[in-house]
Amino acid sequence: MSNPHDHPTALKDLQDSIYREKVLRARAMTPEERIDSVFELSDLQLGMMLGGAMHRLGTKDPDEGWKEVRRWLDRLAYARDFRFYATQRPGAA
């Protein structure tokens, strides 16, 4: 069986197939269930980040891990907001 990553058309078909599955799964949920999922995914992802941070630091202290997670999140926010936010409007004194 050939590798779809070697063929742009096959790769696009694969990507579309994965995306279609995500859309159909979301369509099967109610808005309430989808919002619940946002919260569940968020808490789960932060827990994974904590595990990653503690592993990177080589610590078993969750407080140290959360400090590192906060540093990561601050860096992420800075990168995402770069040039998108300013502290003054143009022409403001």
């Binding site: 279609r20 989808r34 946002v38 919260f39 995914l41 906060r70 936010y85 300013a86 502290t87 409007r89």
Partner: protein
């Protein structure tokens, strides 16, 4: 503190202070699109001149530490205040202040209540069309993904596409809308 607990406290505070608001960002996009994780709670807040947004910032002060330096997004020059929860994990709370923008006023006037079981309460949300228009207007990669997901999950047949097209034309984002629609695979 979990994001659920923080969100419950933030929404309860805004309600108790009688501050008109609605959830935007990942919560709104997740309601209509494909749910994704987030690290912040974003609220669009309508405050009157006399009370100002600082009353809500003070009300949230026990759980959220705000940077009192306002920031402006460079697309609409809307004002936002960013806070970080005082508890761990360090979630962000972002308050976007209502401003004199025809679309934002329309978006806010169309907000609706939705019950969120995990929060055990109703929250105010924008309409799906407004999520699409706003996300296309901001146009960052995650915004475009959110707009595509809402269009895909809701389907053009259930959305007021005339409303979306009108605002996208006003914002000069009609090509983004066209590109996004064309990027959708057959569903």
């Amino acid at each position: 503190m979990t994001l659920v607990e923080l969100a419950t406290a933030v929404f309860a505070t805004a309600e108790s202070m009688d501050v008109p608001h609605m959830a935007v960002g990942a919560i709104a996009a997740g309601a209509y699109g494909i749910p994704r994780a987030t690290k912040d709670i974003d609220l669009l807040v309508s405050v009157d001149q006399s009370r100002g947004i600082h009353q809500l910032i003070d009300g949230l002060g026990v759980i959220v530490e705000f940077d009192l330096q306002a920031q402006f997004d460079t697309i609409t020059w809307g004002r936002r205040y960013v806070g970080t929860s005082r508890t761990v994990p360090p979630f962000k709370v972002e308050l976007f202040e209502m401003f004199d923008d025809e679309f934002v006023r329309s978006e806010f006037s169309r907000r609706r209540r939705t019950f969120v079981p995990i929060l055990g309460r109703e929250v105010w949300l924008p309409a799906p069309e407004d999520v699409v228009v706003q996300k296309l207007r901001w146009g960052r990669s995650k915004d475009l993904d959110d707009a595509r997901d809402v269009l895909a999950v809701q389907g053009q047949e259930t959305l007021d596409m005339t409303y979306i097209e009108r605002w996208c034309a006003t914002h000069g984002t009609d090509q983004r809308l066209k590109d996004t629609l064309e990027s959708l695979p057959p569903l």
